[in-house]
Symmetry: C2
Subunit: 448 residues, 2 copies
Amino acid sequence: MTAGGNTVERSDDQDAGARSIGVAVLGMGNVGAEVVRIISDNAADLQARVGAPVQLRGVAVRDLARPRAIDPELLTDDPGALVARDDVDIVVELMGGIDPARGLIRAALENGKSVVTANKALLAEYTGELATAAARAKVDLYFEAAVAGAIPVVRPLMQSLAGDTVERVAGIVNGTTNFILSAMDETGADYEATLAEAGRLGYAEADPTADVEGYDAASKAAILASIAFHTRVTAADVYREGISAVTADDLVAAKKFDCTVKLLSICERVHDADGSERVSARVYPALIPLTHPLASVNGAFNAVVVEAENAGRLMFYGQGAGGAPTASAVLGDMVMAARNRVHGGRGPLESTYASLPIAPVDDVPTRYYISMRVADRPGVLAQVAGEFTKRSVSIAAVRQEGAGDDARLIVVTHRAPDRAQSECVAALEDMDAVIKVSSVLRLEGTDD
Amino acid sequence: MTAGGNTVERSDDQDAGARSIGVAVLGMGNVGAEVVRIISDNAADLQARVGAPVQLRGVAVRDLARPRAIDPELLTDDPGALVARDDVDIVVELMGGIDPARGLIRAALENGKSVVTANKALLAEYTGELATAAARAKVDLYFEAAVAGAIPVVRPLMQSLAGDTVERVAGIVNGTTNFILSAMDETGADYEATLAEAGRLGYAEADPTADVEGYDAASKAAILASIAFHTRVTAADVYREGISAVTADDLVAAKKFDCTVKLLSICERVHDADGSERVSARVYPALIPLTHPLASVNGAFNAVVVEAENAGRLMFYGQGAGGAPTASAVLGDMVMAARNRVHGGRGPLESTYASLPIAPVDDVPTRYYISMRVADRPGVLAQVAGEFTKRSVSIAAVRQEGAGDDARLIVVTHRAPDRAQSECVAALEDMDAVIKVSSVLRLEGTDD
């Protein structure tokens, strides 16, 4: 039994370890190239861990002509044919995007192949469809790499916490936006300049929309919420705001409240007054106290905090992107899927038994930080406070700054339904005494 | 199919979900009581996650007379008979200690029952024996709760990182010692007073030896090293020093070097000059830089940092002890073991294919912090430095403090084999100019 052998032997003896496990990789970008490298470099370790040799059957790429560090005979531009091969047991999908990844994964599952994918956009829409196909074929559908790169989050939530009740998942799961916010915090530069710098350094893509407008973080929130609450949550269920409106002033102001600003993906079990429960999934830039464990997660790092009834608060921290770290997560899944093919059994799939309703952000209790330019005259604070009182939103802190044309008022509220908070903001915008509401951010990570 | 039904139906259809999964709990201390409570409180959730009802068949306790929050008919003082019951599928061992836990677990495994245990002392000695029995019977042996309580560490290391190469695991995995060191750091009190206070607050046991002398941390290091390096490492292979010699002065001095003192469990892949590899597992109090992620892990919290070739540095943080958090980890394992009985398959067991030799601490490159009282006269520094040069240990920093009777010299070395470092210390102790070597600690968590 050698790792490099080419003979495919199949055996019904689940523990024999005599057959090899065939792997097809779809896509050879940063992550795919690392996956291919590690499968070759670590063949002996992978074989020992799986119980059978792991063999790369082929890699589907768009451009066959491009030079790559791989035996050219393994390359194909026909992913459909690769997926359909009888000697492929596991399909590792790293193309990204909905199509053709969706059809290829379905075809793989329907043909009894296990699938490992890092495709968060696809999973955030079609986990239901894919999990159903996997369940029908009794194969694995693993996707650790879809959320927070190398950091084990999906498996701990699905397996380690399988006996607990998750109350909340809050994470920094997008490296681009965290790099930008960290850099703005450190340098005092504004958003546009920092985004441009992030682009130059390779931390932001040419079209950064998916990152900076929170679409990527929202896909990950949908995936995390689905797992945490045993409820199907899709990207469309996630309330989303990006970071493009965050200003250098916001970061300065945050510091005065011993806070910083982070783009958070928040998944929360909402306990309604009648004892029923709903799920909230949302993404927005928020103030968090400097003492909160997520406050010190800087640069391109990711971290996810999980709060569960019995486990209490757990944090998972590490590299959320990059070829090798993401490949590490992909290969962990690949080894487990391969091992299941050798030893029998399979990992848990999507679980939606709880089917909790989605709570719109309007209903979710949040806290607001509101910064506004106001007329510098007596009575303004009382008038402003009145708008909050009217909507039963109680004020936690007020700071008055500047004078004359630069008179500013900063208000931080206590928890109240987000609708009431946003109605306060709308009312302030209509007030004569308020010249401009210059910034509105939510405040997360506090106990009250 | 109700969670409360008592009929045990067995079926060969792996997906039927018609039979119930019978659970026996051995031991009803803090953790056992929480496990029993959660099985009853969360019956519907557990059933949905497992795919079959989970039913508590019985709980073995030492003292039947003691009042407990449980149907007395479930209690027994005959754990052997409970484990042998035909309607028990999973044995949850929470008695602790080697005997009778060892025999009961073996009997359970040999009778085809899956086992979930939190027994680190047992695992650190007898994982080999137990895993062999589990492999033979094709059942699960899970032990997430044995290391770092609620924090998922075992499963991420065994599964999520199954495709990576772990280089290093360093953890704060003993809450008692971390509480004591954190309190000493905060209050400036000495070890004895802080230990007494920890006892009063319930953070230290009446006989604190297992914690303060590092035996508990060493057991966990053995377990972590075994998993991380696919090599059997037992408690006897772990070099061990406790915290009882750490002084208030050490914590003050650590701060001057922008460090703090933590009891670390370190598991390291040692790369020898000839290209071969060995495993080092060791426990000692060490200085770590305040910027290191483990430096801010305070009180009874635990954290484990894993460094892997591709994943980079990951950190797992949370509650390392306590009834409910530990029960969360136990129940995650129980759900996965139960799920495997319903759906077929089983989790990975001990993997020892790498069988790396153990590196004695003498051979491991370490850094030292040495504080000594010296004679206040010219030439002492040169003389001290000479002892290091003689043994090819290079000095990274020197601090001279005080004068006259209180003249002190603090030396921090660069990395060199631990034997050379400790020989330097012995030589210093023999020097006339050195009145007393008052403190020796290793320095960890630095790159150089």
